[in-house]
Amino acid sequence: MKNLAFASIKELQLSLAKKELSSHELLDFFLKRFEKYDQQLGSALEVFDKESILKNYTAQGILAGIPGIIKDNICQQDRITSCASKILENFKSTYDATAVKWLKQEGALMIGRANCDEFAMGSSTETSAYKKTKNPWDFQRVPGGSSGGSIAAVAAGLVPWSLGSETGGSVRQPAALCGIVGLKPTYGLVSRYGLVAYSSSLDQIGVATRTVYDNALVLSAIAGNDTHDSSTLSQPKKNYTTNLTGSFAKGLKIGVIDNALHAQGMDNEVVVALEESIKTFEKLGATIHHVSLPIMDYGAAVYFILSRAEAASNLARFDGVRYGLRQEADSLAQMYAKTRQEGFGKEVKARIMIGNYVLSVGHADAFYTNARLAQGLMRRDFTAMFKQVDLLLAPTQPAPAFKFGAFDNNKLQMDLQDYFTCPINITGIPALSIPCGFSSSQLPIGVQLIGPHLSEEKIFQVAHAYEQATQWHTMHPAHFLN
């Protein structure tokens, strides 16, 4: 077999089936990869011991024996779930998130907890209270965020799959910055039970892998209706890999969102890579339509308001009473304030305060009410667009990965990393970011395919055909090849 570290899940399963290696050997192999590389990469907050990983392992299911890593805002029973925050430093989950439970039922092995931005708030994984995760392609640069640890681990060949979470682009943006495949499913397709809430109406667990097939396979394990999350859709369990034939229906209409592709501040190398990808889709039989969605340009503003507003109430629960950090004080009110002051990082505090501001008397109409209206209009315009085209195509990121500290003095520019991704969360539709090229300094570039509600199968089919026609998914960061 070729390099085991960068083998796809499909290839690993074949080796397991042929008994070329056992699931124990495979787990040992990936645990050794973490030992060898992760001190430098910083993708994991914790790697579990082999014995506890294999507890209750039955070797049955569609992911039998395949190790992956879970973002540290998704609960794993009896493991710490810190959300990369000091306030939950020693908090142990009392139950498995539904996604984790279903992955275990399918035989997947959870190898550890992945670093992320604190409470998933950030675009570089720099707001983690514990460590910085590096971009596997260039250690001077960030992996993106907020699911930076989950994505870096997969891009560096430390695991073949991971779970991240998306509120405004937190799986797709780092996937693009690290050159892998990242999915944001339709809102309600994957249960949020056990995903620590940031912005409940936007949050969705997402999947990161190196190939489209693998991504569809992991989604097959975690998608479906869950009684523990009443916002899940009544979708039956489904195998999302069945339509991955390497081609798609001739004449499929792809709408290129021109106001995104040619937005102000777009890096030229990203534009060139996307234009190449459009030509490839055309060669594969798609018809390209150039469309404009002016309302998308309000996405970031709407996202800033809605996500912070919901964060303000969701994060009110961390108060030092029932779990997590507690700072001693003479009164209850002081205990709340001191605990939260000590436990939360700067970005989290700023977002909570912005949320309370946009919801406060005198400001709610100008900000929150208008943002909700804009959300409705955005859904209307995307729905109308999908009457003209089958899928939409847009950049995932405005530029290749940036250096650590690049936006320390301009947080707004950091927040605007979500510009092309957050409209998808606001409208609740699915999108997949796939690698489509490299910059002249060998930094990955991604393109996202966006579809109407529950069009994951079509998105995967088209993305898979593109992947088969290109080489990007076969390129891996040199440092991790041995």
Partner: protein
């Protein structure tokens, strides 16, 4: 351009149950002002359509109200301070 005064910031901090350090205040004012100045563009949104545009057509979801047995120990175990089956907190009413 959104403008936040020191008093406004402290008021939001109080609502947010945050006790800020002095040096954090100017940094937070700038960060919050920047975001609000940017986000204020949503006030132009009326030009895209009428205010009656419906949001997602959500419907209520029901399930049977069944008691599930849980062990309070798993929850109480995580408490910073407990006594029997209670969470212990500092004095609630001040200045008594």
């Amino acid at each position: 351009m959104a403008h936040i005064t020191r008093e406004e910031l402290l008021k939001i901090a109080r609502i947010s149950n945050l006790q800020l350090d002095e040096q954090e205040i100017p940094v937070l004012i700038k960060q919050i002002e920047d975001v609000l100045t940017y986000a204020a563009c949503v006030q132009e949104i009326v030009k895209f359509g009428n205010a009656e545009e419906p949001l997602a057509k959500n419907s209520n979801v029901f399930r049977p109200d069944v008691v599930i047995k849980t062990d309070p120990e798993t929850i109480l175990d995580r408490a910073p301070e407990r006594e029997r089956n209670y969470f212990v907190v500092p004095v609630i009413l001040e200045n008594l």
